[in-house]
């Protein structure tokens, strides 16, 4: 299990965000989730849409966190899905954008019609799974 914090910076100000790699029922299989941190309550909301104009940087930071996490947990599976269809599409766009770099180091899978397949750009998936090569 590992937690990262970073700050989104844009027209709406500085928004602290958390990334958490959570253990699941299967050893070595982790769920990746991230969301906005509420400074007052300490809660984290993964449904809020920040619209802070820096989604590219946010996605790049999440990719960096996956690199950092899998440096420590080299055999880990990292699973991610969005909290909504549009958020899942954003994840797909993020993976597609960095796919040429990511595929050098990671096996990347997309979940479609209830089955895992090798990730292909432009195909809609409901979830994603990566593992270091």
């Amino acid at each position: 299990m590992m937690v990262f914090e970073f700050t989104s910076e844009g027209p709406k100000g500085q928004i602290p965000k958390l990334i958490k790699f959570s253990e699941t029922a299967l050893k070595g299989f982790f769920n990746l989730a991230f969301g906005d941190k509420n400074l007052e309550s300490g809660d984290v909301d993964d449904t809020v849409v920040s619209n802070n104009g820096d989604s590219d940087q946010v996605l790049a930071t999440v990719v960096s966190a996956v690199f950092a996490f899998t440096d420590e947990q080299k055999d880990a599976w990292v699973y991610a899905t969005g909290s909504s269809k549009s958020r899942t599409r954003l994840y797909r766009m993020g993976i597609s954008k960095y796919f040429e770099d990511v595929k050098e180091d990671f096996l990347v899978f997309g979940l479609r019609n209830g089955e895992w397949e090798n990730f292909t750009k432009e195909i809609e998936y409901t979830a994603f799974l990566v593992r270091r090569k």
Binding site: A25, L26, A33, V44, A68, E72, W77, Y79, S83, W116
Partner: protein, 52 residues
């Protein structure tokens, strides 16, 4: 393969240890997503892969 040390050796450190984040390890944030991940594991499982 990039390591944390290599990432940190860049001009702007990407990863810095912050012990104040420890509390989030036990806090049940994103639990709904973890439950969904477990459900996916139960129904779909892992990808079929050729042995290394």
């Amino acid at each position: 393969m990039k390591t944390i040390k290599e990432l940190n050796d860049k001009k702007i450190p990407i990863v810095r240890i912050d012990n104040s984040l420890e509390k989030y390890k036990t806090m049940p944030i994103f639990q709904e997503k973890v439950d969904k991940a477990n459900e996916m594991l139960r129904t779909v499982g892992l990808p079929k892969m050729a042995p290394k």
